[in-house]
């Protein structure tokens, strides 16, 4: 006997129960594979291009802070690269999230499948490409003065939090974009500001004390400090920052899921 699916103004059953999502796992796999294949189709270097952007950015800053404004900080390259690698993931996902519902209108309007899989597969595409950047980073890690120690074992936990946070942001942006097309441009500008408002290429200690606390309210500053602590300071992130970061992640993912699920059935009509 198969389940009865209800479609009514208040039904939530069809939206995305975990078992439903799980049944569609191969769809996620196929969507991710398609996107990666299509995105770099015809380019001789293929997905290596996904590494070029973070690499160029890193080299640029490295040149500036080695020759133009020499940094006195030991192992500055390691410090900076740690921030930039993680920023790249956030940057790419937020940049691309806005348009995912509109881009997938053809699917969403013609067939029912758990809608949540659209932002999920989009973020997984970015994560897959980004993992290549992470691999390159880990290869260079000891050369830049990093130490492999037990602290690195905490990394997967924080990476998971970071991933969920980014996914949550993506769902919120994708939902908003359908009605407010300005969001995309706003995001582009905000990302520039946020990059400099995050202690990626400068240390948090260099910020005047009174601004430091304000800065640390930003989830982006928090995860940057967390990852610098793990890779650069070789120290497990403090409990305070872990709790602050977890609070941000849980809030953003819950708001994202709620908002996306609440709005999406109606948004499909307007795509």
């Amino acid at each position: 006997m198969t389940d009865i699916v209800e479609n009514s103004p208040n039904s939530t059953g069809a939206i995305s129960s975990p078992s439903m999502l799980w049944r569609y796992r191969d769809l996620v796999r196929n969507l991710v594979a398609k996107e990666i294949k299509v995105r770099y189709m015809g380019a001789a270097l293929g997905f290596i291009w996904s590494l070029v952007n973070p690499l160029v950015v890193t080299l640029m800053y490295l040149v500036i802070f080695t020759y133009v404004f020499p940094s006195t900080q030991p192992h500055y390259a390691l410090f900076m690269v740690t921030g930039i690698v993680h920023w790249t993931l956030f940057n790419q996902v937020t940049n691309q999230s806005c348009e995912i519902l509109v881009q997938n209108a053809g699917l969403l309007k013609k067939i029912y499948f758990p809608r949540l899989l659209v932002p999920l597969s989009s973020v997984l595409v970015n994560l897959t490409l980004w993992s290549a950047a992470l691999a390159v980073y880990l290869v260079f890690f000891p050369m830049l003065g990093g130490h492999f120690s037990w602290v690195l074992l905490t990394y997967p936990f924080y990476l998971l939090l970071f991933f969920l946070f980014v996914w949550g942001v993506g769902m919120i942006l994708a939902t908003l974009y359908v009605d407010f097309r300005d969001i995309k441009h706003l995001v582009e500008v905000s990302l520039q500001v946020l990059f400099w408002a995050t202690p990626i290429i400068y240390q948090l200690d260099r910020v005047p004390v009174r601004f430091r606390h304000v800065l640390l309210l930003s989830p982006l500053a928090e995860f940057t400090v967390v990852f610098q602590s793990i890779f650069y300071d070789n120290r497990a992130p403090s409990l305070t920052i872990t709790i602050a970061f977890m609070t941000w992640t849980i809030t953003v993912v819950s708001v994202g899921l709620w908002f996306f699920n609440k709005r999406v059935p109606e948004l499909v009509e307007r795509l």
Partner: protein, 252 residues
């Protein structure tokens, strides 16, 4: 209000379903536009409600073949989309029991740059299929589509007939318990259409329920035994097929 009585063999119950769309004239999507709209009437977004469906009720038993008929804009496609779960009704409810394959368009999700075979996996997984289930059906799908060695060519190089044949072939090999088709059972040349007819009839014999949206009487009489005619979003007429053929002849 009359409550609908359920029968244990009902696989689809549409219970007083209403659906309205907001028609936006002069659609304003930007923040600037919204802001200016506060001061200037010309910039303001005007909305109007359009009632696509009003209190539509119907029941479909397992193995039934129902034709949804009506002129353009009568709400048939909207009803099909609600049964498929793509749109959500404003009032009423739809209960569906069994695996549904909505065929609102053939080859949903096909990407022009991917090969026919890659698109088979993509399209079938949109219907909730696992890749290993698709692999098991792959040979049959390719054979039915008559694409032969074109199956590993990018879909962008297909003729429209090849594209439709592939889309149709996937749909009929997913063994749906309920097939919702929106005017797409007439695909390809006469020979292929006949093949489609045989295949769908075969599936119906195995107990598949069919809802076919069409205003083509010939097509309807080929597949369906019952019909519901919608007019301006309401059920105007229901009956068995002989009546509709008669009614159609009278019209002509």
């Amino acid at each position: 209000m009359r409550s609908i009585s359920y029968h244990k063999d009902d696989v689809i119950v549409v219970d007083r379903v209403s659906k309205s769309f907001k028609l936006r004239h002069n659609r304003v999507e930007s923040l600037k536009g919204r802001f200016v709209g506060v001061f200037k009437r010309r910039w303001r977004q005007k909305t109007e409600s359009f009632h696509a469906l009003e209190e539509v009720s119907l029941q479909v038993r397992r193995g039934d073949a129902l034709a949804l008929m009506g002129s353009n804009g009568s709400g048939k496609s909207t009803l099909l989309q609600i049964i498929a779960g793509i749109l959500r009704p404003n009032a009423g409810r739809v209960l569906v029991q069994g695996r549904v394959a909505p065929l609102i368009e053939l080859g949903v999700g096909f990407h022009p740059e991917l090969t026919g075979e890659e698109n088979i996996y993509l399209n079938a997984s949109l219907y909730g299929f696992r890749n290993h289930e698709i692999r098991a059906r792959l040979a049959k799908i390719v054979e039915f589509s008559e694409l032969g060695h074109f199956i590993d060519t990018p879909v962008k190089n297909y003729s429209s007939g090849m594209y439709m044949r592939l889309g149709f072939s996937i749909a009929v090999h997913l063994e749906p318990e309920i097939l919702l088709a929106d005017e797409i059972l007439a695909v390809g040349d006469a020979a292929f259409q006949e093949k489609c007819h045989v295949r769908v009839a075969e599936m119906q014999k195995d107990g598949m329920t069919l809802i076919l949206v069409s205003h083509n009487l010939d097509q309807v009489s080929k597949y369906c035994t019952k019909f519901v005619r919608l007019d301006k979003g309401q059920v105007a007429e229901t009956g068995t097929l002989e009546n509709i053929v008669k009614a159609g002849r009278q019209k002509n």
